[in-house]
Amino acid sequence: MVKPPLHRPRRSSKVRYGAAAIVVGGALLLSGCSKQSIISNASPQAHGITVLWWWMLGVAALVFLGAVVLLVIGYVTRRRPGLPFLGQREIAAQGLVLVFGIGIPLGVLVALFGVSDIYLIRQTAAPAPRTTALTIHVIGHQWWWEVRYDGGHPVTANEIHIPVRTRVNLVATTADVIHSFWVPQLNRKIDMIPGQRNRILLYADRTGKYRGQCSQFCGLQHANMGMFVIAQPQSAFRAWLAHTSRRSSSPTTPQARAGKQLFLTSQCASCHFIAGTPAQGTIGPDLTHVASRSTLAAATIPNTPRELADWIHNPQAIKPGVRMPDLGLSWRQVDRIVAYLEELK
């Protein structure tokens, strides 16, 4: 029933659209319109899972229709005389139960097991040790993602840069409770569990920005724990990595210098790390290159000076329960800190 066309993942779009024809109405909404959809996939792994899905949907639709047809037959023949309280045609009825209840399911299930749990599971599995050129460590925190590149030097948060068409070994761990790393367009998810070091394959066919989200309930701000995987051409990725490895630049304007001073003397520095400064906190995200990131607070708000100021002024209003406290800074103080942080490209 479920034939595996999965070994040629990029060429099976006909199969996909063939099966899609069966789909009722809304399912077509899925393809391509969302940034977090498993259907608009961007890797062979996610593509394989999508193809599997369309096949399963097709077979499921057939089974559903079959059962409904039998019920409709029951409805149409409901006034047929001669059967009350009897068990006529027992053999035929029992045969139907055996065929539909055991025979057909057995065939479908064996096929499904073979395709998904023997074959596809290998395609989506974590890479074997030392078979990838790049390893990235992602550490879940309540409620943001710490991202470290091998060697531990370049550190960022909530944005994972990867080179396109390159197998990446992603190591998923947690600093507190259980989180789950999920970027639907690229691959299946993996939980981050205390005391465990889980791994997953990350691979993108084409450049792009793929949204991901924590998918294991992790407390108050589970809903606002998003992140992006940014797949770049090799050269761009290398440049980014080199840049990110550098220390922060010194502030250039008087406003920014005042902001740096304030940052270092207020509570900020006790939680945040800025390479090349005395700010050595490790509780919150590393801010060495915070201005180069596109969002703040784990993809909760866009990273603009305005939003950043609002965030510093009152983070609890934007993300209630977030570990970052209201610091009681005046707007003037906030503006100075923003001026400093905006220079941390």
């Binding site: 399963m56 009350p84 998904s116």
Partner: protein
């Protein structure tokens, strides 16, 4: 009564009325040991909790109507969705099926006069009520459990959840589990020992098979949950480290213990629904169930295999492939007994002459939803796909089709089906059909789009979602449909409430049912049957000559057993008459014992271990009273 009883028979009936009469008024309800009255108390309590869980569901849906909803704060949302899960599973579905339907109907169906342990039956109810109040006190105080109904550690540990919220969960569920354990033992013994003479196992109604399977499943599954909760409380209150990875514990121990309970639980929820379906389908199809023995076997098999699949809730925790594929295979195998039952129902309807009255419509709805939920369940046994959509709205869609569509629809159908038996009145057929269509469409439109949302990447347990991901339209649609569903459910309650007061008299057997309960009065007398019925087939009501024989035996005073609370005990397999059992009469001790237990758990919750031990001593004393009064003159 359909048959006229002559004066000699009436004299025995009067005697039975005197012997089995209970006290009137509130005291009567407090002290009752009548399985029917206990069933009714279970019904109304479970219905109240269904209302609470339903309000919680509507709050969740209202919050998610659009992006950035402000109906609930994040903290309130976490409590509300956690309480929704706990309420629907522990305080509504299980008490409604085993407590209300099982208690009321099972002794009637097997021709017994009560459950095997009537006072323990009352105790089960009072413990259930107390545990429900216990858990809801948390919500009233704004400290309801807030880590989801499966309460994963370390989010539920003292470190990340220092307030009392989770302690209500831990102790509340252990407390609640005592009720279900006692009820299960009671069902097993009742089914094995109290069947009417002649009702050998192969003549037992499929309803009873379902409850037998559920009782065994509960008995073996609950200890795992209780142990998990006990470890949790030892960690939280006494500083143990069962689940603490930094001290050599393992948070996955919780997940394993929880799901060893949690998956059989799914079948515990749905098997009674299967039992109800196998009662309604033959009655309205005017036909015996197709393949009776295979269906009975499948019911047992589902409960048994349900213990071997729990890791499919944990496919994303990083277990080795060899581990996960074993559980995937087991999860696929369990499809077979489910499919057998499904197609046995469908072919029974197809080859019968079905009459689509309201109860039957709900069963058709159940079949449709069970197919949808079952099929989406099969897709989740494909590990890579499961790992994609795990914890997304796809899973929410799946289990609401199974737990709401497939488990609650038969409950609703069953409410209509046995309403005439319990009240003696007929419900309104037109409003009944309307209520079916409202709940059917409401359910379909609330839950079906969730599949699509899950595939679009919407994650469960989020109090909000961003506007840019395309989730808004379907969420708005689901919220509207949820209110349609709520209206349909209200319509059912109103239909039954009004019919109770104004409905026409129903008579003993308005639907030409096949099982024994239809042979006695509506509502049945306290002793159920004036004469212990004789059974010669699995469809005793369709054996007209047997029922006539019963009436003749009543005239002769044969099998009346009117000298005290008596019911026959029979052999396990063949149901040959073994002994005459003396059942204990009404008693105040069960609610008193439940109150003492509530004291123990309240003190455990507050950490006063010595006072808890004091309450245990009080319970020991009440048990003396319990047994002292249990001796029959």
């Amino acid at each position: 009564m359909a048959t006229v009883i002559n004066p000699r028979g009436q004299q025995y009936v009067d005697l039975l009325d005197r012997v089995w009469g209970e006290r009137r008024g509130l005291v009567g309800w407090l002290t009752t040991t009548d399985h029917k009255r206990i069933g009714i108390m279970y019904f109304f309590t479970a219905l109240a909790f269904f209302g609470a869980g339903g309000v919680e569901a509507l709050l969740i849906r209202t919050q998610l109507f659009g992006p950035h909803g402000h109906v609930l704060s994040p903290a309130a949302y976490d409590q509300v969705f956690t309480m929704h899960g706990i309420t629907m599973i522990f305080l509504f579905v299980i008490p409604m099926t085993t407590g209300a339907f099982g208690n009321y109907l099972l002794p009637l169906m097997i021709g017994a006069r009560d459950m095997a342990f009537p006072r323990m039956n009352a105790l089960s109810y009072w413990i259930y009520l107390a545990s429900g109040i216990f858990i809801y006190i948390a919500l009233a105080q704004g400290h309801a459990p807030n880590a989801g109904w499966f309460d994963y550690v370390p989010l539920a540990s003292k470190t990340y959840n220092p307030s009392i919220n989770i302690d209500f969960y831990g102790w509340g569920l252990i407390f609640n589990g005592i009720s279900s354990t006692a009820a299960s033992i009671n069902f097993i013994v009742t089914i094995f020992k109290l069947r009417a003479p002649g009702m050998s196992l192969n003549r037992m109604p499929l309803f009873c098979y379902a409850f037998l399977a559920v009782s065994f499943a509960l008995l073996f599954a609950l200890p795992s949950l209780s142990v998990a909760c006990l470890f949790l409380e030892l960690d939280r209150q006494l500083g143990f480290h069962f689940y603490d990875a930094s001290h050599g514990g393992n948070p996955l121990l919780w997940q394993n213990l929880f799901w060893i309970f949690g998956h059989p639980e799914v079948y515990i929820i749905i098997l009674p629904a299967f039992g109800i379906a196998t009662s309604i389908i033959p009655a309205f199809s005017h036909r015996k169930m197709v393949f009776f023995p295979l269906v009975a076997l499948a019911e047992i098999l589902v409960a048994f295999l349900g213990f071997g699949v729990w890791v499919h809730h944990m496919f994303t925790v990083g277990y080795a492939t060899v581990t996960t594929i074993y559980f995937a295979a087991a999860s696929l195998i369990i499809v077979i007994p489910s499919a057998i039952q499904l197609f046995a129902w469908i072919t029974t309807i197809m080859t019968g002459t079905p009459q689509f009255k309201t109860p039957m419509l709900f069963i058709i709805g159940f079949i449709v939803f069970f197919i949808i939920g079952g099929l989406s369940g099969v897709t989740l046994a494909a590990i890579p796909f499961d790992q994609q959509v795990h914890d997304s709205y796809y899973v929410i869609a799946h289990f609401h089709f199974v737990i709401f569509g497939a488990a609650v629809f038969p409950i609703l159908g069953g409410m209509y089906f046995w309403f005439p038996k319990v009240t003696g009145k007929l419900y309104h057929e037109g409003v009944g059909k309307l209520s079916f269509w409202a709940t059917f469409v409401g359910t379909l439109v609330t839950f079906f789009p969730m599949h699509i949302l899950g595939l679009m990447g919407m994650v469960r347990r989020n109090y909000t979602y961003p506007p840019g991901l395309g989730f808004s339209t379907l969420n708005a649609l689901e919220t509207v449909a949820a209110y349609v569903l709520a209206a349909g459910l209200l319509m059912i309650v109103l239909n039954l409430a009004i019919s109770y007061f104004k409905g026409p008299a129903a008579g003993n057997d308005p639907f030409e049912g096949d099982t024994l309960e239809w042979s006695t009065g509506s509502p049945p007398p306290p002793y159920n049957y004036a004469v212990i019925p004789t059974v010669t087939s699995p469809y005793p009501m369709w054996d007209k000559q047997d029922r006539e024989l019963d009436n003749k035996r009543l005239e002769r005073g044969e099998g009346v057993l009117a000298l005290g609370h008596r019911t026959p005990g029979t052999t396990v397999q063949d149901a040959r008459l073994d002994e005459i059992l003396n059942m204990p009469p009404h008693s105040i001790w069960p609610p008193v014992t439940a109150l003492g237990l509530a004291g123990i758990f309240a003190m455990l919750l507050l950490g006063h271990l010595f006072i808890a031990a004091g309450f245990a001593a009080v319970i020991a004393l009440t048990l003396i009273g319990w047994h002292h009064h249990g001796v029959q003159p």
